[in-house]
Symmetry: C2
Subunit: 263 residues, 2 copies
């Protein structure tokens, strides 16, 4: 617990610095998180030869960064077309040593481990981007904490008993409600979101998708038989352990944004 | 062989009709091909319960069509964000009955079976789109036929011995050369591509990626132990059997196009 607090005390100012000073710092943060997430996924999937499953998604991630920063139109499609071609070539010429399941996981690694995190940059570059990211971050945090305390007090029905025995439906609902309240209050001061309807939708979407992201990381850990995805953040585990909820939230919020602006 | 010729005699005019008359016909063709490709993939992957692996990619494909036709900006990203969220939710709530390999294959199905074919529509809507598609089609066909005859005459070195024992390196090179020559001649009459450099690059890219697409379909068939992916096209097999090369070619050509225009 002491480690956890120290890491948080260092980590939160670092994140605020990246969010609210200059863009290169934010870029550095996203690159670091992506590298960490991909490395942890590769090490979970193939503990004995993680590098074999790291280089292709890493190249794909670099492709996303380079094309995005160069403002290439259709940057996502270009990288995906190139990635798919190399992926299938790899499957063909490594046959039968790279079965279809490995190819599928390499695709999932790109989308789940790199494409999701790229949307931190997409959101950052949107109007009021830094504030939106901070609000997404706060919402995940409030929903998480709310779920913990409400679940402890009133939890009766398991949410996903086999994956995460401590999570309850009551906790999840409590977390969502707390996230909505917190964000409504925050929005009075921050004014990044247009109106109360948009704020409520924003909070609910983030809380629900965040819980899902958290549960999916539990699925990964159970599937590959590890307790934590890594240990780079003392007391918090790895990048995936700490940012699992946010990762799935980032693209959803990015694409919800133009719609929210109409509310 | 007789069946094959009859199917071709019906199929080629149908494709030309879809390419060169009205857009709804083209749309219908792409929808039919996507539906066929996804169904064949699902049936290969899970012969006993193909529908379980069909509904999610089918919903994703409908998402692509609807958002593309409504001209939603970022249509690909929106569908991918939504698909990823539902995919992970499915993995979480079906745990442990839908292992990570299944989730990976469901993602691969969307990208390989629907996203690639969607680019037939993207190309169609580009300037000179119908002609570009026809040229892509012809290039694949010339490269294929060239590889067959050159390979029979001079083939010594196997290209991918374990996947497709009849394909040789000599055949592949012959196919690429023939595709370049055919396209250079066609371009004199059609004028859809800007210059000879662009035409050569177009032809080489299509031929190489086409061979790869063909080999990947062999990988799928060997992995799942089937001879043909389907039998909807008498003498040709299934949609995947006939359009395997073109599928991988479509996104590559789409994204190469703005670059080709600068040559």
């Amino acid at each position: 617990m002491r480690q956890r607090i120290i890491t948080g005390a260092v980590g939160i100012p670092v994140i605020l610095l990246c969010l609210f000073t200059v863009r290169p710092l934010m870029l550095l943060l996203v690159v670091a998180l992506t590298a960490g997430a991909l490395f942890e996924l590769a090490r979970m999937y193939a503990p004995k030869r993680p590098l074999a499953f790291l280089w292709l998604p890493a190249c794909g991630a670099v492709g996303f960064f380079v094309t995005y920063l160069l403002q290439v139109p259709d940057w996502q499609g270009i990288v995906l077309a190139f990635y798919l071609t190399v992926l299938l070539a790899l499957g063909v010429f490594a046959y039968p040593h790279l079965p279809i399941g490995d190819l599928g996981f390499l695709l999932l690694m790109l989308i789940y481990g790199a494409w999701t995190l790229m949307h931190a940059l997409v959101l950052y570059d949107a109007p009021h981007g830094s504030w939106l990211l901070l609000m997404a971050f706060l919402t995940v945090w409030f929903s998480d904490s709310g779920a913990y305390f409400v679940g402890r007090a009133f939890g009766r029905h398991k949410l996903a008993a086999q994956l995460s025995p401590n999570k309850t439906v009551e906790g999840a609902v409590g977390g969502i409600v707390l996230a909505v309240l917190a964000l409504l209050i925050a929005n009075v001061f921050i004014k990044a979101l247009p109106g109360p309807a948009a704020t409520v939708l924003f909070a609910v979407a983030i809380a629900v998708v965040g819980i899902l992201g958290d549960l999916f990381e539990s699925l990964l850990k159970r599937t590959f038989g590890v307790k934590d995805s890594g240990n780079i953040l003392p007391g918090h585990g790895g990048i995936l352990d700490r940012f699992d909820s946010l990762m799935l939230v980032l693209p959803v919020v990015s694409y919800l944004l133009p719609f929210l602006a109409t509310l």
